[in-house]
Symmetry: C2
Subunit: 327 residues, 2 copies
Amino acid sequence: MSRERQGSLVSFRPDIKVVDCTLRDGGLVNNFRFTDEFVKDLYLANIKAGVDYMEFGYKASREIFKREDFGKWKFCDEKDIREIVGDNKTDMKLSVMADVGRTDFRKDILNRKDSVIDLVRVATYINTIPAAIEMLEDAKKKGYETTVNIMAVSKVSDVDLDGGLELLAQSSVDVIYLVDSFGAFYPEQVERLTDKYLDVAAKYGKKVGMHAHNNQQLAFANTIESLSRGASYLDATVSGLGRGAGNCYMELLLSFLRNPRYNKIAIMNFIEKHIGKLKEEGAVWGYDIPYLLTGTLNCHPSSAIQFIREKRTDYAMFYQDLIDTAL
Amino acid sequence: MSRERQGSLVSFRPDIKVVDCTLRDGGLVNNFRFTDEFVKDLYLANIKAGVDYMEFGYKASREIFKREDFGKWKFCDEKDIREIVGDNKTDMKLSVMADVGRTDFRKDILNRKDSVIDLVRVATYINTIPAAIEMLEDAKKKGYETTVNIMAVSKVSDVDLDGGLELLAQSSVDVIYLVDSFGAFYPEQVERLTDKYLDVAAKYGKKVGMHAHNNQQLAFANTIESLSRGASYLDATVSGLGRGAGNCYMELLLSFLRNPRYNKIAIMNFIEKHIGKLKEEGAVWGYDIPYLLTGTLNCHPSSAIQFIREKRTDYAMFYQDLIDTAL
C-alpha cells in the first residue's frame, strides 16, 4: 500500500500521542539513580507540557537484578510511583516498560485497578515475540493499555519482520513500535518501515509508534518522518537523555507539533533546573563520533559507551576494531 | 514536476560534490582566527577524505572590515592561501565566498589563471540578486566556476523566490544553492524547495546545492533529504563547526555517501587533534535550546549567540522576548 504524508505543518492530528521516556531510557545512563526532586519536577513539567504518557522506568525482575545496584526506577514499585504522583489525578497517563525475560510480570505487574499505571510497554527481540505476546495478554487481561517494541529491527530480515508483525498484530496489543535501537536508520528507511508497520497495523486496527536513537543526529528527523507517514505514538526524552547517543529531544518534538495541548516552556524550565546539573554530576549522553560509528555499522552502542567512558579519542582505531566485530 | 528520490542507499551518484565550509562558516565563530596548523591539517585531511571543494573563507572588503579585527581567512589573500596549498596540485578544488555589498570583487578577485582558487561562491539576499549576478558574471569572465547562495529564503515568498530563481538560472552561474540560513526548515519543506530549485535549474542546465544549519538537529537530515531529491553540491563542516547551531557535520555526511572516493577516517583524525582543543580555547557552536527557538521562529541566530555568550539559561524568558521581536 502506497502512502502519502499525513497532516500538514499548520494543522495537527489528534491521534498523536507523546510519550516521555526520560526516566526509562535516561535511567540506562545513570542506573536509574534520579533524585526524587528530579522525578517530581519532571512529572509536573510533563503535565504542564501536555505530554500524553510519562514512562517511569522498568518493571525489572528482582531475581535477576539486585535492588542495591540500581535506583528505584529500574523496578517501579507501585509505592514509589505513588510517592511522586499520588493517585495521578491528571490527564497524563503513566507507563512502565518490561523486557521479555527480565521481568516477573505475573507477580510484579498488579491489576490495573490497584495501580496508577495505565500503559504497559513490552520490549522484545524478534525471536521472543511469542513470549512478548504472553506478557501483552497478561497485561491486557489485567486491564492495561499495551504497546510492544520490537528492538534491533535493523538486524532483522524483511521476511522475519513480516512474520513477527503479523503475530503481534493478531494479539491484543494496542500499539506496535518501530524501534531504531542502534540509531542505524536513515529517514528513507524509516519511511519504508513505517509504511510496512502501518500496513499490518491497519489490518487489525492497531496503531504504530516510533522510538528513535540519535547516533547520526537523526532521532528527531526520523521521528517526524515516521509521524508524517502515519505513526502516532512518539517517544522522546528531555534533552535527548538516553543510552549512548540518546533519543529524540522532547523540546524539538514539542516545537514541531501544532496541537495547542503541547507547551515546550515547562520542559525548558525543567532543563534549566536539572539538565546542566545532571551533566555536571557526570551523566554522559548525546551524539558523539563513536555513536555515529556504531550507528552506521548497525551495532549495539555498548563498545562506544565504554570508549567514551575511558575518555579515549582514537576514533580511527575504534572504528577499525568495530569493523572487525560488527560486520 | 513531480520527482522521485534519486539514487539508492547502496550505490552512489557521481554528480555529488562535497564542499567543506569549515573555515568559512566556522570563521564566523572565532572571527577567522584559525592557526596555520589547523588550516594546513584541515587541507590535508580534506584531500585524504576525498572532499571535492574546500572553502577557505571570505573575500571581504578592506574598505568595510578592518584587517586587525579578523583572522586572515576573512580576506583570503592569494598569498595566504598559497602558503597553505602551494599550487594545490591535488584533485581537490578550492573556493572562496563573497557577500554582495561586502566585497571589492573587481579588484580582490584575480583572474583564475593567477589564482589557486577554482570556485567563487556568491552569497546574496533575495533583493540583491541583480548585484549578485554582476559578481557572478565578473567571476565567470575571469574563468571561475561559480555558485550562488540565496540566503534567508525561509523569509521569502514563493512568488519572489520564483522570480529570483529564474533570474539566477538565466545567468552564467553553475550551481544555485538552497540555504536554510536560520535552521528553520523541516525535511518536507526542504523536499518541496529542492524540487522547486531543481525545476528551474533543469531548464537552464544548472545544478542545485544545499547548505543547512543545525538549529533543530536537522542539518544532516535536510542535507540528505535535498540530496535524495537531486541536489548535488552538499555543504558540510567538520563537527558542524559554524555560526550558532552550526552546519551539517562532515563526518555524518561522509558516512552516508557510498562513493569510495570518500573516507571519513582522515576527518576523524583531524577532529581528534583539533576540535576538542578549539572548544577548550573557547569556541562555542552546535545545537542548543536558544538556537532551536530562533530556528522554529525563523529568525537570525544573533540573539541566541548573545544569550549563550552571556551564559544565560532563562530559556522561557528568552523565548518570550524572541516572540515579541520575531513574529
